[in-house]
């Protein structure tokens, strides 16, 4: 009896599509259920689809099979990928079908090279764009959230250390650009932050190592990159750069010294003022109640 029901469900799900909505509805019959997963030796992959988010995405008019071309029926064809990561890497080819230009330049980037080298932490298309909730990269929602997207990895000390990098997210959000962008994201989310986000300087799909002379943020190119926004930036402008790191004696020394100066001055001045104020109150209290006490 049980297998009959299963067979019936499979038949319904695999029914040739009469319309887009029907086709997607059939898939969502299973994939909308919270916690739908594929199990791999290196972890489970959540394949739940949030229909609402998908309906708000740029791909809302596609059927599931537009991208998942061989998933026309159930049971699905056997998977060739043997790990979760391999499955996700393969899925990039789906994006590349239409977005070939982006896929090609991504391949040349430091992230693309990492993918080819088989590094497990390196971002794939969906790591930044999501798989099924893709929104316009030019939208305010996407732009204002870029630091958080990059921060998924670039705030993580453990991941960064593996590649000889420093986590830079925290320093960025405390910088002028980062403060501005965060305030746009949280206070006026419908307006694009005019302040630099990660990809304005590092580029998005062609991101390179900072030491790479072709990188727009390589020391030799830095001031030219600043000038894409700060058109009249003076020749020393790029030396304002604190390299996404907290100031210290070795880096941004002047900034560090100013920090230390106020760290001493503020409590010092406050202490003197509190003592003088306390003395005056003491004197008043003694004059007033001293005799009787």
């Amino acid at each position: 009896m049980y297998w009959l029901i299963l067979l019936a469900v499979a038949w319904i799900l695999g029914f040739p599509q009469a319309s887009l909505a029907q086709d997607n509805a059939a898939c969502l019959g299973c994939h909308e259920v919270e916690g739908t997963k594929i199990s791999f030796p290196d972890g489970a992959l959540d394949v739940t689809i949030n229909a609402k988010k998908f309906a708000a995405s740029v791909h809302k008019d596609f059927t599931c099979t537009t991208c998942h071309t061989n998933h026309t029926g159930y049971p699905h064809p056997p998977r060739t990928a043997t790990s979760r990561r391999a499955y996700q890497v393969l899925a990039q080819q789906i994006c590349a079908t239409c977005h070939a230009d982006q896929a090609q330049i991504f391949d040349l980037s430091v992230h693309g090279r990492g993918v080819r080298m088989g590094l497990g932490d390196v971002p794939l298309c969906a790591s930044c764009h999501t798989a099924h909730a893709v929104i316009k990269p030019k939208s305010a929602a996407f732009r204002n959230n870029i630091p958080e997207v990059c921060g998924n990895c670039h705030a993580d000390e453990a991941v960064m250390t593996r590649y000889g990098l420093r986590p830079v997210y925290q320093a960025y959000v405390e910088e002028f650009h980062g403060v501005t962008t965060r305030l746009y994201r949280l206070v006026t989310p419908a307006i694009r932050s005019p302040s630099a986000v990660c990809y304005d300087c590092h580029t998005a799909h062609t991101v390179r190592r900072v030491a790479d002379p072709l990188s727009p943020v390589a020391p030799g190119n830095l001031v030219a990159t600043c000038r894409t926004c700060h058109t009249k930036a003076g020749r020393f402008f790029a030396t304002a750069w604190t390299e996404h790191r907290a100031p210290s004696l070795r880096h941004s020394t002047l900034v560090y010294l100013v920090q230390v100066f106020y760290l001493i001055l503020i409590p010092g001045v406050v202490a003197v003022l509190v003592i003088l104020t306390g003395m005056d109150m003491w004197h008043w209290a003694v004059t007033r109640w001293g005799g009787r006490a």
């Binding site: 959000v173 002028f176 403060v179 501005t180 965060r182 305030l183 746009y184 949280l186 206070v187 006026t188 307006i191 700060h230 058109t231 009249k232 930036a233 003076g234 020749r235 020393f236 402008f237 790029a238 030396t239 304002a240 750069w241 604190t242 100031p247 941004s252 020394t253 002047l254 900034v255 100013v258 920090q259 100066f261 106020y262 001055l265 503020i266 001045v269 406050v270 003022l273 509190v274 003088l276 104020t277 003395m279 005056d280 109150m281 003491w282 004197h283 008043w284 003694v286 007033r288």
Partner: protein
């Protein structure tokens, strides 16, 4: 209401009182629009910026009142220079070793080791300290603020590190100014038991001779010597 009675002399001219009001207004608005930028990661800062209508409007307000404060500072400088030709009440804010002696003497008095309070001039050491703190603070805030406002221009001559350094100094000095005002100014001009809830001199412009005698006796002597005191009436009982 003993303070109100008795003859009084002018302590602050109407121009000085207007200056104080402009300072009061710009200081508060600058703090209100500046602190949420310094603490942009906190919920209260985000709510405050939301009230102003976003970060751009917050910055516009901040810069507008920064300009107002800077113009007022320049006016003050001109007014001080112009007053140098006056015969009395010049150099009242000059700092000297006497102020240090006064401070030590006052501390001895307050702790009961001296019977007499030092005889202060027109402004005592607390008021002078506050005045010069405002001068120093305004100059520093204006300089660091302008550096942050015009980074492209500044870096044609100065190393770029002055920009992040200015940002740290601007925030540190802001905090220092706020603490100084909350502790020092609020206490000396509002919460001191003798004047609570506030010292009216800055708003009425006048100070009763009786208060002058207690708090600024040397000023009283100077005015007397210059013949600037109103005729003393015999003390009357309050109504």
């Amino acid at each position: 209401m003993r303070r109100r009675g008795g003859p009084a002399v002018e302590r602050f001219s109407i121009a000085q009182r207007i200056e104080h009001f402009v300072l009061l207004l710009s200081f508060n608005i600058l703090a209100l629009t500046g602190l949420p930028q310094k603490y942009s990661g906190t919920g209260w800062a985000q709510r405050l910026i939301e009230v102003f209508g976003g970060i751009e409007i917050t910055r516009l307000i901040h810069r507008t009142f920064a300009v107002i404060l800077m113009v007022q500072g320049l006016y003050h400088l001109a007014a001080v220079l112009a007053s140098r030709t006056r015969s009395v009440r010049r150099h009242d804010m000059h700092l000297s070793l006497q102020d240090l002696h006064d401070m030590i003497g006052d501390m001895k008095f307050m702790t009961g080791r001296n019977r007499e309070r030092p005889r202060f001039g027109r402004f005592d050491y607390r008021q002078k300290f506050e005045y010069w703190a405002v001068v120093w603070g305004t100059v520093l805030m204006a300089a660091t603020g302008l550096i942050m406002w015009f980074p492209a221009l500044v870096t044609q001559w100065l190393p770029g590190v002055v920009i992040p350094a200015s940002r740290v100094a601007h925030g540190g000095e802001a905090l220092l100014a706020l603490f100084a005002v909350i502790i020092w100014h609020f206490y000396n001009a509002h919460f001191r038991p003798a004047i609570f809830p506030m010292d009216p001199a800055m708003f009425t412009g006048k100070i009763p001779l009786e208060r002058l005698q207690h708090e600024h006796p040397r000023e009283l002597e100077n005015l007397e010597a210059a013949g600037l005191l109103p005729p003393r009436e015999p003390e009357k009982a309050d109504k």
